[in-house]
Amino acid sequence: MTSPLIALIPLLPLAGFVVNSTMGKRLPKSVSGGLASLVMLASFAIAALTVWQLAGLAPDERLITQTLYRWMSSGEFTLDVTLLVDPLSAVMLLVVTGIGSLIHIYSTAYMHDEVDSEFARYFSYLNLFAAFMLVLVLGSSLPVLFVGWEGVGLCSYLLIGFWFKKKSAADAGKKAFIVNRIGDYAFLLGMFALFAMFGTLEMRGIASAVAARPVETGFGVLSLATLLLFIGATGKSAQIPLYVWLPDAMEGPTPVSALIHAATMVTAGVYMIGRNAVLFSHTPETMQIVAVVGAATALMAGSIGLVQNDIKRVLAYSTVSQLGLMFLAMGVGAFGAGIFHLYTHAFFKACLFLGSGAVIHALHGEQDIRNMGGLKKYLPVTYWTFVIGSLALAGFPFLAGFFSKDELLFETFAEGHQILWAVGALASLLTAIYMGRLVFLTFHGERRHDAPAAADAHGGHGHGHGAHGGHPHDAPPAMALVLIVLAIGSVGAGYVGIPAALGGHNALGAWLAPSFAPPVAAGRAVAGEAAAEAGGEAEAHDEEHIALERTLMSVSSAIAIGGILVAAFVWLQRREIAANMARSFAPLHRLLLNKYYVDELYEATIVQPVQAVSRDGLWRGVDVGVIDGAVNGVGAIVNASAGVLRRLQTGSVRAYAGSLFIGVVLMLGYYLWR
């Protein structure tokens, strides 16, 4: 069916952006922020309504489209801007608009110290991001999706560099932008390849076209195309090798990190693969790569996260590793599981980031966990929400993360990738450990952080916050509210996908299944088969499956709890152990601290050569030599010739008339002569 409402979902935030960016300077904070949040809530409402409509339909017709206009049409290639809501994009819609609204609300409090114009600028960017993200989610064809893809990239650049007066922030923004461009380039190539193959860029069209083909054995053109798309995804979703921008992206305002660099944008890659599930599931080679890359990223980022000291960076690396897990799931064909994890992850990771934001807010910009500790009694709300978030992330039983992660790992195992499963399990162990470390270092123990923060707090008196004197104050109501909501989400979000093993019947998986199946056009049979293959346990559950799942589940919960306990033991009881280990494994420790020297590696292998070529070759050589030379040469020639020609300008009217008439006479003579 079609619905005229869909367009409003991205258009509302866009309107907010227009208003805030044009007249935001003159609006008071309450208005600009309120407006921004309001449009988000409104589009959330519409999204909910649409999803409700969608749910009303039979599983096979769950598809709402709206064609806005004919975008381009050249030769036999035509492309309409069509928005599409199906189970998959429905989930994403709710996540983006829902979490988005929450974070908007949170930001109104968090960014309150900015001056009005900056405040408005911030919210205009935020709205713009929402609009683009929604376009990305709703786009039914790769180009439309790509528009959103690029748009969110732009917004992330703008928001990372929001405090552009700070050099590190500006650099981080640039880094994010450039790294993303690399991925986008690959993505474009992938699009071209697909177009060359299928003559269409409508994703459903491609899907049905692919479904008609046999699964590609060996690494063929199709695999290449999907691989290129995947590279694009690694750029956007911070996977090896293009993950380097995400940790730096923490330079941006914390709510931004929460919204863009944890909950929504970075999941675009995962979403994209899910959206093209049929396509990808036809290229096992690429799937293999995806899975491996995902697993590797998960492990690597987790290990780095273990030693980081910046609260947000820890979270950033955990984000990277969680994304790695999602890609792992995608790679093994457990699309449902991947999206499921994406969805739960959005909740608790947003919750965690906002919690860290609250901490930073309370400590007036302090981000180093070594200077924290003992905040538990000052920031009860933040503390409890943060703990819940961490537990959910660590996969503590019966919290959101638990279900999704287990789902994911189980799928991996069930698809027969034991090694990958092991890696994933290790990654989640690491997760548990560093989250534990984070919590304990930040909130427990005695307060380590010293004068400056307190002084800030005193100074803070001046500008109206730091309610109770020397010690930091808890999050203001708006932030607190959001934290609590998200915490609840982190607890409950998982219950939409209770696996059969626990007597549930993975509602989410069943709901998503059609999206990963080829379009109905390609034939019910295929759809059913694909649904079975992709949506996992929509039906057909035999005993050992459940048994296996139970065992794995217990294992991973053991892992989670074990990890937390280890962390508790090390960082609460015997702090020196950590130091000892650091000393005894000094090289490893240094390696981790320096993030495997990846940045340095890139610097040496890519950045330097490129700079050298541009400076000495392109600038000194081509630009100065050729281009400027040409320009100046032209100028000089004109000058010289003018010097001669101006002699003709006698200033005598009749001289001019004379030349005119000579011309006339000659021309006439010529024509007569012929």
């Binding site: 200033g651 005598s652 008339a657 008439f661």
Partner: protein, 100 residues
Amino acid sequence: MIPLSHYLIVSALLFAIGTAGVFLRKNVITILLSIEIMLNAVNLSFVAFGRYAGTVDGQIITFFVMTVAAAEAAVGLALIIALFRTRESLNPDAFTSLKW
């Protein structure tokens, strides 16, 4: 009846006279007048041709020429007045401050 060629000869003569005037006279106004003469020479040939071809187009074009002439006269004379105010002369050679 008069052959067309006679009209054309007359018009040619007039045109030549106008041309010569543009060169001979050293008075902007007279030069403008000479230009008017040329225009009318052309008009004459237009009307003659039109009559010869038995269409009204010749006359129509004549109207357009007249209109243009009127515009040209208005602007030209305005220019002359402006120039005269600054240079106190009507000799085109007096207005040469833009030459090299």
